[in-house]
């Protein structure tokens, strides 16, 4: 057997670079987190698999017409996948708790302050404005919006930002409670809030997505794709006349696109673009953005509490982010720790869905500010 033949047979081994080995390790870590720890397995498993398949030496998957390259061009490069995911999220989301208690919208807005705080920090750390804006959006813990914004503003950071957003989404129950306990007193955490169950008419439920689309669309044109798709899904759900489309969007479409999206995002995680100091900085800034968003929400809720003479539980501020329904559950749990009869769940759900809408709007505002499009 000639050396030439041997080299051909072993070309995979020969092309194994240290960087690729490291990236394979990251891919395996993501798969491990998904399988063993069940951290957002729906996303981290495909992302980890995409990372593995893209970093194997000479992988045909990322050749010009390789499957992963095709997936990337199909739905990430042109922003299609995050938008389709939003149709599914809209079809799954019940805005009822928010409509019952519209003042929760304020918390959703307050939960976005961290985005801009992190943007400033990222600028200070030497990131370009477009990169800083993409990193800031991690703070809202909104995966699809993060993908959408960073792909428009800083496509080279897409991999780390997405991984960051989805990893922290799974860490919501670990990251938020210490901040919540630190920023509130025991007395504040024990505040009970009346839950007045109001029946929301079908007309209101149907009008809500339409009105939000029109108002947000006119105010923040850059948010039209995101909010439009989110609200389309919700309109289908609430109208009740297209059950099959609603069901397909929230199940089949969402699942298929999640698989495609995860694989395509994973394939962007390659040694040359991922193994940089910038990735570490993004990981740190991402968690900082998240902490800032949580803190801003709680502090704003404390203002609401003062304005209502101590009748507003500041814990609810932590639910003003996009991670749905994790943030609302965390709020409910921390409230119950102090008083097993203090169920904040329905209020928190209202704030949480508001956070979803608000982070989309914040993404649109960032894009508009940076003149993308």
């Amino acid at each position: 057997m000639s050396g030439d033949t041997l080299a051909r047979l072993l070309q995979g081994v020969l092309h194994l670079t240290p960087g690729a080995v490291f990236m394979l390790g990251i891919g395996l870590l993501l798969v491990y987190l998904a399988v063993a720890k069940e951290y957002e397995p729906m996303l981290l498993l495909p992302i980890g698999a995409g990372c593995l398949l893209a970093n194997l030496p000479l992988s045909p998957m990322i050749a010009e017409d390789g499957a992963l390259s095709v997936l990337y061009r199909m739905g990430i490069g042109n922003e299609m996948f995050p938008l389709l995911i939003f149709v599914g999220i809209g079809a799954m989301t019940d805005f009822g708790p928010l409509l019952e208690n519209p003042r929760m919208m304020l918390l959703g807005a307050a939960g976005q302050f961290g985005i801009f705080g992190t943007l400033l920090l990222a600028l200070a750390l030497g990131f370009e404005l477009n990169e800083a804006a993409s990193i800031g959006i991690i703070g809202a813990i909104d995966g699809p919006t993060s993908i959408y914004v960073s792909n428009l503003l800083a496509p080279h950071l897409l991999g780390p930002i997405t991984v960051c957003a989805y990893s922290y989404m799974s860490l919501v129950p670990l990251i938020q409670p210490p901040i919540m306990r630190w920023l509130t007193t025991r007395r504040e955490r024990r505040i009970r809030m009346p839950y007045t169950q109001r029946t929301i008419s079908r007309r209101t439920r149907v009008l809500f997505p339409i009105v939000v689309t029109l108002v947000v669309g006119i105010l923040v044109p850059m948010a039209i794709p995101l909010i439009g798709m989110l609200m389309l899904g919700n309109l289908m759900r609430e109208s009740g006349v297209v059950e099959r489309l609603t069901s397909a969007s929230s199940k089949e479409l969402a699942n298929v696109v999640t698989l495609f999206l995860g694989l395509a995002v994973g394939s962007t995680m390659r040694a040359d673009s991922f193994l940089r100091v910038a990735t570490l900085k993004i990981l740190v800034l991402g968690i900082l953005a998240f902490a800032l968003d949580t803190a801003a929400g709680i502090l704003f809720a404390k203002v609401l509490n003062a304005a209502s003479h101590g009748r507003f539980n500041p814990l609810l501020g932590a639910a003003g982010i996009s991670a749905f329904p994790m943030a609302a559950r965390v709020v409910n749990r921390v409230g119950l720790e102090e008083d097993f009869e203090n169920f904040l769940l329905m209020h928190a759900m209202g704030a949480n869905t508001a956070g979803q809408v608000a982070s989309v709007v914040a993404g649109g505002v960032l894009l508009a500010l940076l003149g993308a499009g």
Binding site: P97, R103, Q197, R311, L345, M346
Partner: protein, 171 residues
């Protein structure tokens, strides 16, 4: 918060009522604060705690009430209220620390499982019912040491806010 102005013998009394839970009210009268707990959440639903009051006329002296609250018009209480007030007045009023005979659902949801049976002795904080709401399972616990008099909740049953799950009697 709802504000009622009641005229008794020509003197106006301002009563502020804040609903802190469906069966619990903070009542402010003459600078004092009382916590009032009604025995049955169901009866509360039928009693006139939050009457629909027509908005006050524009020249009314009452300052505008913040948005989430319905504006209350002091002098224009509709006849509906006095007519149905006795229903409320006959409710036994219990103070905060008193025995609470009924455990009501704190939110709408589906009963997952019931962990007590009639005649069981429960301690405060003991798991009574698991209630699923918004895809989250919530442990509904006994508010006090008591004996279970009646279990009304059934696994799989959909309940609304304030529906009675379990009735207690004093141990």
């Amino acid at each position: 918060m709802r504000r009622y102005t009641v005229e008794v013998g020509g003197a106006a009394h301002v009563i502020d009522v804040e609903e802190t839970a469906r069966d619990t009210f903070e009542v402010h009268v003459g600078g004092k604060e009382y916590t009032v707990r009604l025995a049955s959440a169901h009866d509360v639903a039928e009693a006139v705690i939050s009457p629909e009051i027509a908005p006050a006329e524009a020249d009314d002296a009452e300052p505008p009430v913040p948005a989430p609250y319905r504006p209350a018009a002091p002098e224009t209480l509709p006849p509906l209220v006095p007519a149905r007030l006795p229903a409320l007045a006959t409710q036994p009023l219990l103070v905060e620390e008193g025995f609470r005979p009924e455990l009501a659902a704190p939110m709408p949801g589906t009963v997952v499982s019931v962990h007590v049976a009639a005649g069981d002795r429960v301690a405060a904080g003991q798991l009574v019912v698991k209630l699923e709401a918004m895809k989250m399972t919530n442990a509904i616990k006994a508010p006090q040491d008591a004996v279970v008099a009646e279990v009304r909740a059934q696994a799989g049953q959909a309940v609304g806010y304030g529906d009675v799950l379990v009735v207690f009697r004093e141990a």
